[in-house]
Amino acid sequence: MSTALATAPLRRPTAPGTTARPAAPVAPPRIEIAPVREQRRARPRAVYAGVVVGGLGALMLGQLFLSIALSDGAYTIDSLQATQKEQARQVQQLTEDLGRLSSPQNLAENAEALGMVQNANPVWLRMSDGAVIGTPAPAQGAGVLSGTGSQVANHLLTGLPLVTQIPAQSATSGQPAGTSAAAQLPLQGPLAAPTTR
């Protein structure tokens, strides 16, 4: 810094030997340091301080908001995870119900309760020439369970009613409106069959 300092031109004292003018009080010479233009420009200004303080403030605010967002996200994640757990439980419950209902014991008991019987006399229709293989005969009476009842235990079916034991009211109330009404309409004319060649 010191090398950049320049001094203001000094006022020369009058040369000795010249005619002295009337003596006037001589002011003592003043010496002062004068900054150059660059130095004046380099001087800190209030705006800079403002920028720094403002920047720091913005940073802190940003961090605050980020932290708020993060902890808010944590609560969202927490509640979503709780929902996911609940839904996983529902899936489990429904899978278990489906498994129980589609077990062969349940299907057979319901089918036979509805009057279905098995035909132990298989007859085949050969597609290539339409030949009927075997002698068609109506099923003779019995289902697989008839007489003996279900012999293959399934503890999961305990207390599960057969479709025929469910009161008609609750059976139809479960159906969407419209289908139940349609189901009660008597069939008019022949059954519609697709024309397949």
């Binding site: 944590a74 278990e96 014991q105 293989i133 003996t148 012999q151 293959v152 399934n154």
Partner: protein, 583 residues
């Protein structure tokens, strides 16, 4: 103020400063070094929560993709008794509402809490209900009782109940494998739990980014069986109905695919419902597994098929080989007779099978040295466990070294007495004969499927030739004549299909080792006989109300009919060959 006093003050201040610093330093070392571990742990405990990540045990599927064993979560409902008795929600009030859901008596629930507090006033833990399902759990949770807590446990459910329960087995209360395939295939099914630690806030919310998984959970793989659950159900239902009708002690039915050796149904009666093991365990522990694998018995006359096939293969006899079969045949040191008195018959080998003549078979069997006969038995897979390796599976007993056989054993082993086999082994003998003499490895498990779909542990599928194709064909032809001309012809007939069968009525060894008055009756057969696709082998032990193989006939017919129907086997369209049975 003198210079001296100022110096003294400075020294005092410095000393005080050093003393304070020393105190700080001591505390620092005390906290950071001496008690560091304890404090760290305490801090961890306060905010970090360790948690077990449950690994899920693999499911078991049948050959058609039907779920047979499924991993689920069950919930224990627990309570803090000390809080409960002081709570605004009184135990009485809560118990009534919980009882309505679980079906428990409210008084019992109140008693659980009261007893716990009586035993220990600070009691903070008691079970209200164990292992409730998700629906019950949700309902209890909805009650919002402040002193009720929950714990989830992995458990197992078997949607089809006792269908294949004899094969699948079951797990214990801690979900540990205990029996059947659950046990023998545990290496495929088992999962391992993982562990994670996370930090939580004061209100229990997980702090993001704080979760550290210290050990990954590994889910078990799925087990795929060859069993067809629908057919398995039908077979079990039919077996159980007839076994009860005839008063049998136990029975088995094995259905095997001829071309592949796959077991599509293995029914046992009585059997276990893996959902309710106690119901069977409390009355009949011996019925918890599969007797088809674990109960060897003397097969009796169904074994004559094997002797005849061996003779044909070795070129020592033909279906038309003549033999004079008296009621009693007693060469030196031996004495065998037929089941009922009859005048002496002139039989062909086909006739010997049709009449199931012990005396005829004993004479034919003498054409072959005993050692060679036993070698054939071993090639048919007898005397050793099948490839299934079922838990507790028996090898059967071929009565040691044939060189040591006495004259009687030498003859009885020709018609299935004096040696033992399992029901699955006998089915495998018929599979070999039906498959042109090539024995396929018996399989019950078709693979172990990982989460990415890769299937391992698949059966090899390479067969071994036991007898020539011609010998196998001739044996099937003879068995067709047994089916069409034997005394059970009308009962094993399936309209439209050619069937090949052989019956057996074997004397049963009682606990003392002597032959008792009880019998094991059996019937094994193939259909359609012109190109066998399926083996059905029926065994009933001690059917007191019908002590002949006639008891097994309706089971065979109904199961075989169902098999042919279910697998869409086209009717034969030809008739059975007519072989001479006598001369």
């Amino acid at each position: 103020m003198t210079r001296r006093s100022s110096r003294r003050r400075m020294a005092a201040s410095a000393l005080a400063l050093v003393a304070i610093l020393a105190v700080f330093l001591f505390r620092l070392v005390d906290i950071q070094v001496v008690h560091a571990d304890a404090l760290d742990a305490e801090a961890e405990d306060k905010r970090s929560i360790p948690q077990t990540i449950l690994g899920v045990r693999g499911d078991i599927f049948d050959g058609t993709g039907v779920l047979l064993a499924h991993s689920v979560l069950r919930y224990d409902i627990t309570a803090s008794p000390k809080t409960a008795v002081k709570s605004a929600v009184t135990p009485q009030d809560a118990a009534e509402r919980i009882g309505k859901i679980t079906g428990q008596n409210p008084a019992d629930i109140v008693a659980i809490l009261a007893d716990a507090v009586k035993a220990n006033p600070d009691s903070d833990y008691a079970y209200v209900a164990k292992k409730v399902d998700a629906e019950t759990f949700e309902q209890i949770r909805a009650l919002d009782i402040p002193w009720i807590y929950y714990e989830a446990h992995p458990a197992r459910t078997y949607p089809n109940g006792a269908v294949a329960g004899n094969l699948i087995g079951f797990v214990g209360s801690q979900n540990e494998a205990q029996a059947g395939l659950e046990l023998s295939e545990d290496s495929c099914l088992a999962a391992s739990d993982g562990r994670e630690v996370y930090d939580s806030s004061a209100d229990g919310v997980r702090i993001p980014g704080s979760t550290v998984v210290t050990q990954q959970a590994v889910d078990g793989r799925d087990l795929l069986l060859t069993i067809d659950s629908d057919l398995q159900w039908f077979t079990q239902q039919t077996l159980a109905s007839y076994a009860q009708k005839f008063g049998a002690a136990w029975g088995t039915v094995v259905v095997q695919e001829v071309k592949t050796g796959k077991l599509v149904a293995v029914a046992d009666y009585p059997t276990v419902d893996p959902n309710d093991v106690d119901a069977t365990a409390s009355t009949d522990v011996s019925s918890l597994g599969s007797r088809a694998f674990t109960a060897p018995f003397e097969p009796g006359s169904t074994f004559k098929t094997l002797t005849a096939a061996s003779l044909l293969d070795a070129g020592l006899a033909t279906p038309d080989t003549h033999v004079v079969a008296p009621y009693r045949y007693a060469p030196s040191g031996a004495d065998v007779n037929d089941s009922e008195y009859h005048p002496t018959w002139n039989l062909t080998m086909t006739g010997v099978l049709k009449e199931s003549s012990n005396t005829g078979m004993a004479q034919l069997g003498l054409f072959m040295p005993a050692q060679q006969r036993q070698d054939y038995m071993k090639k048919f897979g007898l005397g050793q466990r099948t490839e299934v390796g079922f838990g507790g599976e028996e090898t059967g007993d071929l009565h040691g070294d044939p060189a040591d056989w006495d004259a009687q054993t030498n003859l009885t082993t020709m018609f299935g007495q004096g040696l033992t086999t399992t029901a699955v082994q006998m089915a495998s003998v018929y599979q070999t004969i039906g498959n042109g003499g090539v024995r396929m490895p018996v399989s019950l498990v078709s693979g172990c499927r990982a989460a990415d779909g890769t299937v391992t542990d698949t059966p090899t599928g390479t067969g071994t030739r036991v007898i020539s194709e011609q010998a196998a064909r001739e044996t099937v032809d003879m068995l067709e004549n047994v089916a069409t001309k034997g005394w059970l012809a009308s009962q094993v007939r399936i309209p439209g299909y050619r069937v090949a069968t052989k019956t057996g009525t074997a004397q049963h060894v009682d606990a003392s080792g002597a032959y008792s008055k009880s019998y094991i009756v059996s019937l094994a057969g193939l259909a359609p006989a012109e190109n066998p696709q399926y083996v059905v082998s029926v065994t009933l032990a001690d059917p007191v109300k019908m002590n002949t193989s006639g008891a097994a006939a309706p089971i065979f017919r109904e199961v075989m009919t169902q098999v042919l129907k279910q697998y869409s086997v086209v009717p034969s369209g030809s008739s059975s060959p007519d072989l001479a049975t006598n001369y």
